[in-house]
Amino acid sequence: MNSPKLLAGLAVTGLILAACGGGGTTTQTIKGTIKIGIDLPVTGEDASDGLPAQQGGKLAITQKGKVCGASSHADACFTLTAFPLDDAVNGVHDPKQGAANVQQFVADSAVLGMMGPFNSSVARAEIPIANSVNLTMVSPSNTNECLTQEPADGHCKGQAKILRNNSTKNNYFRVCTTDLIQGPAAADYAYNKLGKKKVYILNDQQTYGLGIAQNFAKQFAADGGTVLNTDLGGFDPTATTDFKSKLTQAASLGADVVFFGGTTATKGGVIRKQMKGILDVPYVAGDGISGDQFLKDAAPNAANSYFTVAGPYASQLPTATAMIAAYKTAFGTDIGAYSAQGYDAVGVIIAAISRAVDDAGGNMPTRDQVTAEMLKTTTYSGAMGTFGFDGNGDTTLKIITVYKWNPDTGKSDYADQVTVK
């Protein structure tokens, strides 16, 4: 951005504000309370990802404190509060619990939008419920493409339409890009940057895990690499404890990299641990293994593990500096992999509510009005940058970051950042 222009703009805004203040005609009145639901897994294995995202969302709410009309009804304000719920049961995200949480949001007429869920499998349970009352949902992290679109090869089998009860209304948005992008970005990284030619794939057969594994396999083969197991190594994460025989098979086939489609809670770290001594090659996965629990589960074999995150590396973005500092002040810790996404997901909802307050003539907007304003979002400036939503509700900002786990520091190091057009 051209900074003199920006400064001039600020100066003008300041003048206008000063003018208004001087006139003393606009006194803001609080007309009620608007709640923003937050549904994420914040206990157990998923907490290391879910909690920082939840805190990002809470930060956006506490910073604003209230929401007023965007322009014509700037004097009509509503107090903002967070309504956070946990969709983990026994420490693992649970679609049934997610659905029950959304029922709670739906039943509370003050909830005009929700941030979440974290997991694609939970989203499949929640979207139909929220869609029936047109409640805006913005996920910080759902990357399964079938939630919003029907790719040309038809592999989603019309799921997006079914999830929306065959209606044309769309209430679901996301601020991260899809596995269609995450899987191929990981494949390109493994093939081009790591120089690996033979991949062995394992996946947990859940919506997210299988999807990202399929997209990885497709791109890895297109790049010129060999996918050693075309069945993509599906397993039942609640029943499988022993991966050693499968990994021995991978070693005998000459695998030089292993790709895992799934999360830490579905044995992502356990598999890495069991690779030790059997298959000592790099390990690549999606954002499902981005939480700290991976290091504990995979120790002492966590080194040489890479993961992609459908989103930018916040600390490398100038737009996120203020948010990072505020987060640290508020929670005493550094941001997590999804804090910026959580922050922007809530931020974009608040912006839409603000415009909807105008649409409602300064009164409490309806959920339909909020969703309609969400659909019109084209240039929201958040911590991640400026983005909008396409007709499916997918973000226009398609950034993938590659991280490498560093067991010595207990953190993941930035490895690479890819923006897909």
Partner: protein
């Protein structure tokens, strides 16, 4: 060839763990005809108790010379503590129901399983818990027959425990009392055998063996999680049925067979990982339908 040997060793290692758990199912069933569904969770508790002792006595930092006696003591202490847990479960949950209809203790066993899992979840949380391997790692042998030392030791530990158990049951007075109680409880009582004590000892032994399995599991996979006993317990139960429930040698054999099947299915069949449970439980069903007494089982008189 190398691949086959690798899979064989992995299968036997898994089998050793399942066999140690299966022994507890079969001992208890043999003596009071109760399928103790809490047994899988006793296995997890044993692993956790072992981990706690390792932590308290800082066994990870012991010099190699002291490690052998330390590991033996670890097994002894863990097996004793877990054994008494088994006795307590029997005393509190099963003995009051000994003369109740057979469904009552079975349902209670399921309840005890949930109680144990719930306690483990509250105390240890839902995450995988890291477990140190105090057994030597590295490989022994050469060429196709290069096998992991950890695997070898695990199989040996399991075999030693199994042979010890067999000798105990066949040669000691208590063993004879156990066999007598299994055959006919009333007749055994008339002969002056303390039935309550004999049954308590049976639970002690079964739980102690499961605890050994729990430590071995921890050493081998280097992680443990609160609900692992559910699945492992069902696999071990299948092993006990397959070998002939009530039969100690049958349970050991069944454990190894189930371990080998699980491993070979995953190792040789490209989609095998997702079919492993299906194959194992199909075996359970087929055994129950076509040979309910199992491989080595003796026909139990209907009551």
């Amino acid at each position: 060839m190398k691949f086959f040997v690798d899979q064989l060793v992995l299968g036997l290692t898994n089998g050793a763990i399942y066999a140690l758990i299966a022994l507890g199912y079969t001992l208890v069933y043999g003596i009071i005809e109760l399928i103790n569904f809490a047994h899988g969770d006793v296995f997890t508790v044993g692993g956790i108790i072992g981990l706690t002792l390792i932590g308290i006595f800082r066994l990870e930092h012991l010099s190699p010379a002291l490690l052998v006696p330390a590991v033996i003591l670890l097994f002894a202490a863990t097996m004793t503590i877990t054994g008494f847990l088994g006795v307590a479960i029997e005393r509190l949950a099963y003995r009051p129901l000994r003369n109740a209809p057979r469904l009552a203790p079975l349902i209670t066993a399921v309840g005890v399983s949930f109680v144990l899992e719930g306690i483990l979840f509250m105390v240890k949380g839902a995450n995988q818990i890291s477990y140190p391997n105090l057994l030597p790692s590295g490989k022994i042998g050469g060429g196709a027959f290069e096998i992991g030392i950890t695997n070898l030791i695990i199989i040996i530990i399991a075999l030693v425990l199994m042979v010890g158990l067999h000798q105990f049951i066949q040669r000691t007075r208590i063993g004879r009392a156990m066999r007598a109680t299994a055959q006919d409880r009333d007749a055994a009582r008339l002969m002056g055998i303390d039935i309550n004590r004999t049954i308590a000892i049976t639970f002690f032994i079964g739980s102690a063996l499961a605890a050994a399995g729990g430590i071995i599991f921890g050493f081998y996979y280097q992680s443990i999680v609160f609900d692992q006993g559910f699945e492992a317990g069902l696999f071990a139960f299948t092993a006990a049925v397959f070998g002939g429930i009530g039969n100690v040698i049958g349970a050991s054999l069944g454990g190894f067979v189930i371990g080998l099947i699980l491993t070979f299915v995953a190792g040789y069949w490209s989609g095998g990982l997702q079919w492993a449970s299906v194959v194992v439980f199909s075996i359970l069903i087929l055994t129950l339908v076509f040979r309910p007494t199992g491989l080595l089982g003796m026909r139990v008189a209907e009551r």
